[in-house]
Structures are given as C-alpha cells and as structure tokens.
Symmetry: C2
C-alpha cells in the first residue's frame, strides 16, 4: 500500500486556495464546493446560493438536515443552521415546520443560466391532430397496462440474478424460447432459440443487416414501402431497386432481370405495405427459389401479421425455407412501439455476423422488458390482447368500409383483409388536392405518393376499373385514434371524400 | 367497393388443388393448412401431424376445443374430434379429462427438422467463473427488484396514453426532467431537458457521435480505456490518438501538440478508467480552455461518478462549460446494464444532429423503462439504492485493500477512492504470468495491458517506488461477484498474489 502516499495523496492534499469538494450522503446526493480556508459559514452559504442560482438545486428540493450535512462536511451544526438561515432570509430557501428546509419555488428557472440557447424542439411526430388517421401505430390508449405490469413484476421476481448483469447479445433466452413457440404456432415460422436475435424493431434489423455490412450490394424493395426504410438504407450506402407491386404483392419475377449484383430483397408478404395484397402463393415459392438459386436472401417484414380479419391467415414465407429468409417482427403494432422490442429469425449462417454487428456488449433492447414479454407470451396474455385488438380493429375497418360505401361509393378500398390501415384509391391526379382538404379539416392522413419509391415506374393508373395499384390514393390508418375519437375521424374523412366524387 | 372483386378476389378464390390457409382464433392462434378438396378429416389430421412433427406445435401446447376449431374451419365438430383421436392414437397428442387435448411431451425436438445446422453459441460474456473479479458490472444479485417493479407499475399507471405510442426521439420528457434535477444536484451538471437525449448506454452515445459523423476527424482518448470503445470508433472509421495518463488523469496539455485535426477528446474525469485518478482541477480547466480555443468538444464518460468513497466527490467537467462538453451517463453501473438506459447531455448546437443520427422513429431505449426510471429518481428510490450499494462496495473495497496489505504487502493498490474496481500494480514483466495463475485458480480478472491503447508510449515503469501508472497490473472488479461469493474470490486472489512478491 505504498501508493497511499502517491496516487491517493494527490486526491487528499489540495494546495492552499484550491477548491475542496464535499458532499452530503445522508438524504440526497448534493455536490457542494467549499474553499479550503476562510469562513466556513460564509463559504457554505455561497456554495448553496450558487447551487440554487445555477439551477443545480431545483425549486422544491429538500435540503439535508443540519446535523447530517454538518457531520458530512466536518463543520459545526450551527454553521449549517446559520448558512441555511442566511439563505432563507434572502429568499433562496424556505423553512417550514415539519417539512424541513427546501429550495424556494421562486428560484430562477434553468433557462436563465445563460449557458447557451435552448434548442428548438427536435423533430417529433406531430402531437395530436384533431383526427388521427395515420398508419403505423396501434391504439396507444389500448395498451394493456395492468396485464403488462403484472407480467413485468412476475418476470422480475422469477428471473435469475444473472438477468440483471451483462447479457447474451442475442437477447434473453426466455424470450427467444417463447418466441420460437409463438411464431411457430401463429405464423408458421420454423426456427430455434439459437437463431433468434432480439432487436429494437425493424429499422434496427435493417441497420444490423446493411449498415454493418452483413449484407452487401444493392437491395430489391417493393415499389411501395416506408420512405424511412429506404432513407435508412441509402444512409448506409445501400442502393435500393424497386419491384413492381400489384394486388398479389411484389412481382418477384422481376428479380431475375436485376442482375447478379442484387442478392437480397425486402418483402412484406403477409400484407404488402401499404397497398395491402398478400404475396401470391406462386410468388412465395418463386422468391424462395430465386434466393436458393442466387445464394440470396429474403428479408421478410412481418409488420402486422397478427392482424388478419378473414379466415385465411397467411403464414410467413420463412417457413418455406428458414435458410434463405430473415424473418423480422416486433411488438410495435401488436403491443406498443414504445417498448422498442423486435426480433430477427435468422438463417444459422448469419447469426454470428448479426451478433457482431449488434456489438459484443450491446443488448439494445431492455432485458427486463424482454423477460416481461416472455412471460406475457407464455401466460397467454399476449394472445388475449391480440385477440381483443383484432376484434376492435376489425370493427373499425368495418365502420370505415361501410361509411365510405355510403358516402363515397366511387372509392375503391383496398388492403382491408388485414392490418391496421386501408388504401382508398382516388381519381387520377386528385391526391394532393384531397390531402390538402383533409389537412384543412384537421385530419392527419398520408397519400400513396409518400410511400412510392423514387424510381418506381408506376403509371397514373388506379382509376376505376383498373386493378393496378399505384396512382393516387390515401393510406388510412384506423388504429392510431383512441376508441372514442375514431368515429368522428371517419366522419370527417367522409365529408372530405364526398366532395371528391 | 369494386375492388372486392379484384384484390379481394385474389385472396378468396384459390384455384383447385392449391392450399387454403385456415386459422383458429378461439384459444391460441394456430396456423394450419388444409387442401381445398379431399377428406377434411384426413387433411386436418395430416396438417396437425405435420405441425407437431415440424415443431410448429411444441410439446405441451393445448389445442383448441373441438367446437371452436370446427366453427373456425367450417367443418363438422366430429371431423375435428376424429382427427384429434387419430393423432392421440398415434401418440402425437394426449387427451386427458379436464386438461383438454395437448401436444404429447415426447414430440420431436425442433432441432430435428433438418432445416439447417444449429449455430455454435455466439460470443457471450463468460458465464460464471468460480471467482468473478471482472470490472464493468455491478452486483447483479443486488438489483432492487421490488422497488423497481413498483416504480414501473406506478409509472405505467400514471402515464398519458400517448406514452404508449411513437415518442420523442430524445426520450420521455418525464425522464429528461428528472435527470436534469438529479444530475444537477449529484454531479454538478448544468442543463435543461431539451438538451438531454436518452440512449442505450455509452457505446450507443459513441455511435451516435462518431458512427453517424456528428463529430468528424481523429479523436484523442486516454491511453488506458476500454478496447471495446476504441474498436467501435475504429469500426466507424475514426482514428484515436492516445494521451498519456498519470495519477492526475489524462495529460490534457498534450492536446495542444496534436494539431488542429483533433477536435475532440474522450475523458473519464471523475475516475480515470481503469487507472483510477481523478482529473486534476488544473487539467479540468485546461481541457475546457482547449475546447473553447479550438472549437472542440470534450466527451465526458461519467461511468461510475456516483460511487465515491471519500468525502471529495468530483463534479462533472460539464458544469464548467455545457457548450463544450458532452456528458454521458447510464444506469449500467448504478442499477443494471440489463436496462440498456443511458443519457447524453449535449451542447445545444448538437441536439438536432444527434437526434437525426438516432433516427427519426428510433427511440432505442424502452419508453416504459424510461418512465420507470423517472419515477425511480423522483421518488428517491434511486438515491436510496445508490447509497446502499455505495456502502456495500466500500466495504468490499476495504476488504480487498486490507487483505492485500496483509497477504501481498508489496502490491500497490490504486484508484480505490471511487468506482467498482481497483488497480493492483505488479512487478515489471509479471502480468501475463499472474493472469495465467489467476485463471488456473478459477479467477476471472483482467490485466492492465488489455486496456492500453496500441499506440501508447508507456514504459515498463510501475514497479515499486514509481508513481507512473502503466506497466504491469491487474484490474480487479469488486462489484460483479455476489455478496456471498466475494470473500472467497478475494482469498483466491491473495493466494495467487502471495506467490508473486
């Protein structure tokens, strides 16, 4: 222990006039600075005043008792009492019988410290239009708070201690095991827990595959999809090539003409996003054949596979060939996007690379939420919630379809057999005008153009009689609105559309 | 609604002989495939048999009641009953009074489906050495399960519905507000909620700053640090330049000689990692002056700032100049690395770029855990937990220091005024031999060399009498072991070190 006079000495022996840091350990942590010499009372008062003025002690914060702070600072109790009294007299602190000494509520706001400008609000999702008919989010008001919190508590109480330490970068084994069972019975996915990697959602999965170069080269995508995903790929230096989409999903036969550079394709087979068709059985087989022949890979975005309203669930393409399909799902539509919890079901050969891309020590998704989801799945609470929401969304879909049939009978409504949104086709060339009218009526809704690949070769079709998706239309999300607000939103939309026909 | 005959038609009218998908919606979701023609009973039995054989229905899974499945498939109840009976007879299913029909426990394991090889285990943290003296993780067995689950439940119950929808990419306002107050009083950080961005931890913060090019150019780092961080930067194309470290932390005066290309520096000012010195007050002022003069940035990794055992807490450098320091903290040491929850306190001018790097829709950290942490902080539960752990770790440190003083009196022990690890200096040239002996004794511990920058110009000093960090040593983590296992780990380490002197 010779270093006590070396490294330690540097910490313990401040030079005269330098600052000594002191702290209070009794009630709350409080970081104060006192000079090494001079009046202890005056110095303590100055330090407290500065802490309040600068906002480091915020209004309402309770200060430690005299005795505790005095013991910790190594000063007399009266020194602390006097310093407190001085600041009470100045109005910085308030002292009230029974509630101790607190920072006065009138203390200056943090913004007044002059440490720099307050930034403008960062870009966030538009906070609450009058009528929310945006796609992409479930009914936030329907989150099963009690059932989820109960599952969370049960999972935490049952978890081994190691669950609170650094974890397997693939994610908790409890969740990967529960997902293996759940995805097999509900989506026809064939895998085992060793091939599942938990992630934050679909965008994270894309980053892991492309941003980290697990997959290389240009990538085929559907000509309709989320611009957000295309932007993410472009940011990672990945060129995307559009495939035509019709009512049977993507025309995967076009893959053959794209050349050998394209070795991957991103599809939404259960419910093409956003146009709504399920990938035709022949095309499901064909895309797997293409991947086998080319040594390629299908990335299957099963974003809303649990929400099908007719009696014909469309199983995952992954089940046809687990070695050539990366299946990606999440709780973002079924439970909440706030959980940031998703999963990749990988071909065995990709597991190591994806884990490496994720980062050795980087779990990304909260292991405790993972344990809670495992418990939520195993206990049947997840099935119950999905069933309840399926009924709710089906009723909303029926309301929308029925209202449009009556009020805008010219409108074709597509993609309604599944999911959380419908596509309302518009007469050619009218999309922008209708969007502006909707916005003026307080409706948040998106147009088809926003989802179209910039290189898509879609004509101006889509008018009545044509079966070709593309052209003009609205993507109407019927899930995001709260239950009590949905009817008025549909009514508002009908008012706008009634003037179009 | 003319599309009912178009897009819808493609879903409803399978050609003869193709496969029709059917599902059960009553109990659990069950994906079965029946041929469009032929014996319904035989087809159902085949489909069920295949689902069990392939592992899509796992052992113990309860099948839906006859009536429910029959209604959903549109077949007679007896058809289902007969199909079930057939599979019970074959041993695929079991039927027991009161517990319904279930998949038999002897059903084939998933691994037998022959869909590809099971991958080897991905690289994970070594799962449980006999004696865990690794740095970097808190005592996982001390996670405050009840208090955390209670805070989680309270937070969920109090949250607005919008909390379960897509959120602000900076993170929940409740957490950013609570952090503003907490970091001000405990760490001397000056900020406001608008300048805090929630992230998954320090590595995520580095990715956001460097991988996404918010910061460009080479970056100065301390010559000792986590190889993991250096690797992450190298992977993002960022060259790191080492600064010499002594008992007063990094020699920041060396920044001036690095040329104008280096505009950023990564520091661990509260407790240099892993050598243990706090950054000297003069150096704190100097690095801020450098950043101001150069238009540069200090990235402050406050990885264990809450754990100081003497009465001299070292406040954050950020408090000296919030516009030139990015302060990064997390709950990984104070609560658990399993939560994947950290925060960046940013200069106002960087907020927009960091949010853009994070990704518009990508929260990364669970918003529900964020709400729980806000509640945990505001209720005082966080302070109570940190206080409790500080006492526990201080006692462990004392045990380690005392045992080494007795059993290996030649050993210098450094960095013990704070944190969750100590550095035990070894005679020059002995590190590798000691590590091997420790490993043979079942001790997981790391050597100083593992933390040294490849370009560091550290001599072979560090022997007795020298105050220069560097040279040979062990980094002994005293937090990761469970309470009951810690004493034996220290004893084992002493046995190894007693043979060195």
């Amino acid at each position: 222990m010779t270093e006590a006079g070396a490294g330690q000495g540097a910490e313990q022996g401040p030079t005269a006039g330098s600052w000594v840091d002191v702290a209070e350990r009794v009630g709350v942590d409080l970081h104060l600075e006192l000079p090494g010499s001079g009046s202890r009372r005056g110095a303590l008062a100055d330090a407290l005043r500065d802490a309040v003025r600068s906002g480091r002690l915020s209004p309402g914060t309770r200060l430690p008792p005299y005795r505790a702070l005095a013991a910790d600072l190594g000063v007399a109790r009266n020194t602390v009492a006097d310093a407190y009294a001085e600041l009470v007299a100045e109005g910085w602190l308030t002292a009230r019988q029974g509630s101790g000494t607190r920072v006065a509520e009138r203390a200056l706001p943090l913004g007044g410290t002059g440490t720099g400008r307050v930034p403008e609000e960062a870009p966030v999702r538009d906070p609450g239009p009058a009528h929310d008919l945006r796609q992409g989010a479930p009914d936030a008001s329907a989150f099963p708070r009690s059932a989820w919190a109960a599952a969370y508590r049960r999972a935490l109480s049952a978890a081994p201690a190691a669950a609170f330490g650094p974890g397997d970068p693939r994610g908790r084994i409890e969740l990967r095991t529960a997902l293996t069972e759940y995805l097999a019975r509900s989506r026809g996915v064939r895998t085992d827990p060793g091939r599942i990697v938990v992630c934050s959602g679909f965008a994270h999965a894309l980053r892991l595959l492309h941003g980290e170069k697990v997959l290389r080269g240009p990538f085929a995508v559907e000509e309709y999809g989320l611009a957000f995903h295309r932007d993410l790929l472009r940011g990672a230096g990945v060129r995307t090539v559009p495939l035509t989409v019709d009512e049977h999903g993507a025309r995967v036969a076009e893959l053959g003409a794209l050349g050998s550079g394209v070795r991957g394709v991103l599809l939404t087979p259960a419910h093409q996003f956003p146009t709504g068709g399920p990938l035709h059985p022949e095309r499901r087989a064909a895309v797997v054949d293409w991947a086998r022949g080319r040594g390629g890979l299908v990335v299957e975005d099963d974003y809303d596979g649990e929400f099908r309203y007719d009696r014909k669930p469309v199983g995952a393409v992954q089940g046809l060939d687990p070695e050539h399909v990366v299946y990606v799902g999440s709780v973002s539509k079924s439970l909440s996007p706030a959980l940031r919890l998703g999963w990749m079901v990988l071909p065995g050969r990709l597991v190591r690379d994806v884990v490496a891309a994720k980062g050795e020590r980087e779990g990304w998704a909260s292991a405790l939420d993972q344990l809670a989801l495992a418990e939520f799945l195993s206990s049947g609470a997840y099935d119950r919630h999905v069933r309840r929401m399926r009924q709710r969304y089906r009723a909303r879909r029926d309301l929308l379809v029925g209202a449009l049939a009556e009020r805008a009978p010219w409108a074709e409504v597509g993609g309604v057999a599944a999911g959380l949104h419908a596509v309302v086709r518009l007469p050619s060339g009218r999309e922008r005008e209708v969007l502006l009218a909707a916005r003026a009526r307080g409706i948040a809704v998106e147009g088809l153009a926003a989802f179209r690949h910039p290189e898509a070769t879609v004509g101006t079709g889509g008018g009545s009689g044509s079966r070709e998706p593309g052209g003009d239309g609205l993507v109407v999300g019927y899930a995001a609105a709260a239950e009590r607000a949905y009817g008025a939103a549909v009514e508002a939309l009908c008012e706008v559309l009634a003037r179009v026909g």
